[in-house]
Amino acid sequence: MSILQVQNISISFGGLKAVTSFNLSLTQGELVGLIGPNGAGKTTVFNMLTGVYRPTDGDVYFESNSGETKNLIGLRPYQITKIGMSRTFQNIRLFKDLTVLDNVRVAFHFNVKYNSWDGIFRTLRYYREEDEITVKALELLKIFHIDHKSNELAKNLPYGEQRKLEIVRALATNPKLLLLDEPAAGMNPQETKDLMGLIEFVRSKFHLTILLIEHDMHLVMGICERVVVLDYGLTIAEGTPAEISSNPKVIKAYLGEEVEVHA
């Protein structure tokens, strides 16, 4: 059963065709890798799926939280997040001057039912829901072992923990589909391994479907069930990790980068 159907989306910036006719279909519960050399267009695909960029062509069908399938083209990012797709950013975009806890609580915002008046007059509803989301936020932070830093400012966290906070924040929107853009960038091998364990954990705990961009080949090949390879905006290969690592086109695309493709 597919929850995401991407049909021929394209975009260009000035003269540069960043992504051309990208197609993708995701089945509920899958963990799919999106790889490719620098500048291949991976992040741009995320931006088109989440409404940050509007594709010049093509459609994106998504089975929303409520079960109905919607074309996402033309929707704003917040609308797409609301119906069950959430993401992290490659170049970390936390709310730097907010506490770790508040970073997560912002993401609960649209699921909160009390309104500004409740907030201003501090009604019972306000206290009840605030307590509720605080507890939930701390639970999520705990999964990633950063709950003890909940009162620190996000900008004061070390780099690796900032990446984790990005994931927690995305999880707090209660997504069906999670898009992770190089979540392990800048981490050492051990940290990366731990992070992958956590990602596996939340995937099964929250029944997530995950699309993952990652540069670390070992990692992608180890964790993903299926891999899509982009190069210069074009999909050059798609298949199981084993198929991908023996695909001559992929090897060629990566040649200059001296990345070992054998999983």
Binding site: T50, V52, R76, P77, Y78, T81, K82, S86, R87, F89, R93, L94, F95, K96, D97, L98, D102, R105, V106, A107, F108, H109, F110, V112, Y114, N115, S116, D118, G119, I120, F121, R122, L124, Y126, Y127, E129, E130, I133, R169, A170, A172, T173
Partner: protein, 340 residues
């Protein structure tokens, strides 16, 4: 339930303290211990604080620079003045009329805020700053030309004061403005510490990330800007009954800049900073000759230096001092345990 009770208790404690403070203030003014001139400055400072807070809401908390709050203040002031001058009520209903007129003045101002916010806040970029700047200038020109309502360049005379009773005058003005100021402080503080408030601050921090976390960025920018205009309009309304006279030159760009200086010096996004700086600057402005003469040269320098060297303003400096002291203390404690 125990937690709930504690919350109710703190509420009453705070409310009681504030009421007590207000009564003491009233008593001191009434008894003449705070002289009439000082009382007037305190009252004026209260108005400045209200408008500066409204500016802090949109610029400090939401991150959208607005440069025309004097224009909003003017709309509130003239609208309120018009209402209290044209509606006649029996003596005992006068305070009701005043209260309602001020609120309506705020609502009218909020409407203008919505009208200029709608085309501007949809866009990325810094259009709000220039649009509000131009808007305030246009409002000023319109005020000069709409003589029927505003009295034109000669000004609008004969606006009734909060009370005509000379002896009670300072106390009553002070109370009206203090009550509004306290209500507005709590309004903004509680809003910011709620979920919609966090959405607003998230927009300041990173618009794209906020959008991607499900925050309707345009909606909350509009909400914040409209509320900001509303509060600035209230400040204007309070001002008109305090002064009894309005003139378009009172609401020129220098006035908008005054509010900006209060917000920036106090610390953008700090309520306490704005309140403290509002009182300090209003007071200094009255008593410090240097500040009177060179205010217009000193204020812009404050803006520039704060932005270059301490963008968190006085609030940030206080915060630094606090962490410095607590570090000293904990260092001492560690040394002691080390010795023991």
């Amino acid at each position: 339930m125990i937690i709930m009770n504690k919350r109710v208790l703190t509420f009453f404690k705070i409310a009681g303290l504030i009421l007590l403070g207000l009564l003491i203030g009233d008593a001191l003014i009434y008894a003449g211990i705070i002289d009439e001139y000082t009382a007037q400055i305190l009252t004026l400072a209260g108005i400045n604080v209200i408008i500066a807070l409204s500016l802090n809401l949109i610029s400090g908390f939401t991150g959208q620079l607005a440069l025309g709050h004097a224009g909003f203040m003017a709309i509130g002031a003239y609208a309120t003045a018009y209402l209290v001058m044209h509606i006649h009520v029996p003596q005992h209903l006068w305070p009701v009329l005043v209260g309602i007129s001020i609120i309506i003045g705020g609502i009218i101002t909020a409407f203008f805020g919505m009208v200029i916010g709608f085309p501007t806040l949809r866009l990325k970029g810094d259009y709000l700053a220039i649009v509000t700047l131009a808007f305030a200038e246009i409002i000023r020109v319109l005020m000069i030309n709409m003589e029927g309502i505003t009295g034109g360049a000669a000004g609008l005379k004969g606006i009734p004061l909060y009370t005509e009773d000379i002896n009670l005058g300072p106390v009553v003005s002070f109370t009206w403005i203090a009550v509004f100021m306290i209500l507005i402080i709590f309004l903004i503080r509680n809003l910011i510490k709620s979920s919609p408030g966090r959405a607003i601050v998230a927009i300041r921090e990173d618009e794209i990330a906020a959008d991607s976390m499900g925050v309707n960025v345009f909606y909350y920018k509009m909400f914040s800007f409209t509320l900001s205009a509303f509060i600035a309009g209230i400040g204007g309304g309070l001002y008109s009954l305090f002064f009894g006279y309005l003139n378009p030159t009172m609401f020129n760009f220098m006035k908008s800049a005054d509010f900006l200086v209060i917000v920036v010096l106090g610390g953008m996004g700090s309520i306490a900073g704005t309140v403290a700086t509002g009182f300090i600057l209003t007071y200094l402005q009255e008593f410090l000759r240097v500040l009177q003469d060179y205010r217009l040269v000193i204020y812009p320098l404050i803006l520039i230096f704060i932005m270059l060297f301490k963008p968190t303003g006085l609030a940030g400096i206080l915060e630094d001092i606090k962490t410095f002291i607590s570090k000293k203390i904990s260092a001492k404690a560690i040394r002691k345990t080390g010795e023991g």
